[in-house]
């Protein structure tokens, strides 16, 4: 099996640039409201709880657990290896991200298993946060 091709670059916008710049540097981040402290992802222009525009960028631990998953078999894009292992990860800080599970077989993925972030290079000289299982396989 050939090495997987680089994943496609994300769509970088004025609103999400901070996230992808941090990922390129190997950091998982999210917006945090400076007024009320609420973390939010995907990025939003204001805090949905208090409407403050005053936002800082918070470093996240990268630890979480699988909230849900799916093994994607069809249809297939030549840009990915199949099955794609799609996961929703609930991060320790209480926000959720959509990503891939790497370094695992399809049969290893289960709801509730702990994972930690790492970064996979992608096109555009950027990197995507992806997740790997941690702890016992039980």
């Amino acid at each position: 099996m050939s090495a997987p091709a680089l994943r496609p670059a994300p769509a970088v916008t004025e609103d999400n640039l901070f996230f992808w710049e941090a990922a390129r540097d190997g950091r998982l981040v999210a917006q945090r409201c400076r007024s009320c402290g609420l973390l939010r992802h995907p990025p939003r222009t204001a805090c949905p709880a208090c409407q403050s525009l005053d936002t800082e960028i918070a470093e996240l631990s990268g630890a979480g657990e699988i909230y849900s998953y799916s093994l994607l078999w069809h249809p297939r894009s030549p840009r990915f290896d199949y099955p794609v292992i799609a996961v929703l990860v609930d991060l320790a800080e209480g926000i959720r991200v959509l990503s891939n599970l790497v370094g695992a077989e399809p049969g290893d993925v289960r709801i509730g298993r702990p994972v930690t972030v790492e970064f996979a290079p992608c096109e555009g000289d950027l990197a995507l946060p992806v997740f790997r299982l941690t702890g016992d396989a039980a």
Binding site: S68, Y69, L98
Partner: protein, 391 residues
């Protein structure tokens, strides 16, 4: 006319004409042509002419441009037009917009339409790697967070919610299959359906290949379709002269803070459809129509799991109980809630939800292929938009 809910636009407008093209995999003509044919059919059905039309409404992502329609049909003057976001979830919103327009006097006769070439044109289920940050004003930018990970299709997006649903309630692919068997049984006796004459067994369902494991097999998926559906909506007074008016007894849209479109992955609990619960409150809590009054339900079944989740969200079963409700035959012609009697999006075809509304009109007029007796009240739910239709 009966069934006015007395809330919002309830009971103040009616569908007086319905039209559609054939549903196919290769229409061989443009979406604008398909929309034109469906609209002319709806006007003829209503006994109205293009000169009566003064309002237009469709989906934000419909490719047909208003000006082309107006110039092609020869409509002298449009006074009001609108578009509804949220993709197929917004499908029933075209009736809410149309009813609101005629109730407010912004327009007298509104045409609502949707034209797609979801099979021969821009296939809905295709795995396209480059999803832009905004998707043609569908109402969301969330696709950008899925595309780099190969999560590219509506089935893949929804499957993440469905896996959680299965995990929480112990629901299996076989449970989903039992609903699909019923949908295909309805489609098998509906000549307009993609799967006319082609019923399946549960074993057939279980033998169909995985699309997104463990939630979605091929037979759990709606069928990408070419075609168009159109309706003519007028105010109650004008509709009184119509041949077979269908009253829009209630129309509602519920878009909640936590919701996304399709890539709806950020609400705290993905095993429940909060939006459907909010929609049901808007539809049922303000009028005299109760859930038990619903004779037929048309529920947006782009993929079989969201049929289950809507049945629960709408309040026809409690969370986790759609499995037993369906296994007991309640969606069938003799059940307590005959559902998707045209075969649904899975069995009949996928005009992005508006063919469910067409089936609702047929059932109320007594002209459905799988006609049920004495249908007076029909619910159409597209999870975040919905209508109650009566005769």
């Amino acid at each position: 006319m009966s069934g006015a809910s007395g809330h919002g636009v309830g009971g103040r407008a009616a569908i007086v004409g319905a039209g559609s093209t054939e549903f196919s995999q290769q229409a061989g003509r443009s979406e604008t042509r398909l929309a034109t044919e469906a609209i002319l059919g709806a006007l003829a059905d209503a006994g109205l002419s293009v000169a009566d039309v003064d309002g237009l409404v469709s989906y934000t992502i419909d490719p047909v441009e208003e000006t082309e329609l107006v110039r092609g049909l020869g409509i002298p003057q449009i006074r009001w037009s609108s578009r509804v976001p949220y993709g197929g979830g917004g499908s029933q919103g075209v009736l809410l917009h149309a009813a609101a327009a005629v109730a407010a006097g912004a327009a007298d006769t509104v045409v609502a339409y949707r034209a797609v070439k979801a099979r021969s044109g821009n296939r809905f289920g295709a795995a396209r790697a480059g999803i832009p940050p905004s998707s043609s004003h569908s109402g969301t930018t969330a696709g950008q967070w899925a595309a780099p990970y190969g999560v590219l299709t509506p089935a893949s997006w929804l499957s993440l919610n469905a896996t959680r649903y299965m995990h929480r309630f112990g629901v299996t692919s076989e449970d989903f299959g039992r609903a699909v068997v019923q949908l295909r049984a309805y489609a098998a006796t509906n000549p307009a359906a993609r799967f006319f004459g082609r019923p399946i067994t549960l074993a057939d369902h279980q033998a169909s290949r995985w699309i997104a494991e463990p939630a979605i097999r091929l037979f759990d998926c709606c069928q990408e379709t070419d075609g168009a559906v159109a309706f003519v909506i007028t105010g109650r007074e004008r509709a009184a002269d119509a041949r077979a008016p269908v009253t829009i007894a209630a129309a509602a849209s519920a878009a909640l803070l936590g919701q996304e479109i399709a890539t709806d992955h950020y609400s705290p609990d993905l095993s429940v459809m909060d939006g459907s619960a909010a929609l049901a409150r808007l539809l049922f809590d303000h009028g005299d129509i109760k859930r038990t009054d619903v004779d037929v339900a048309l529920i947006y079944d782009a993929f079989s799991p969201i049929l289950f989740m809507q049945l629960e969200g709408l309040g026809f079963c409690r969370p986790g109980e759609a499995r037993d409700f369906i296994a007991d035959g309640n969606l069938g012609p003799g059940g307590s809630l005959p559902c998707n009697t045209n075969g649904g999006l899975i069995g009949e075809g996928y005009i992005h939800g508006l063919n469910l509304t067409l089936e609702a009109v047929r059932q109320l007029r007594g002209t459905a292929a799988n006609q049920l007796a004495d249908v007076r009240t029909v619910l159409v739910s597209a999870s975040r938009t919905g209508v109650l239709l009566t005769r």
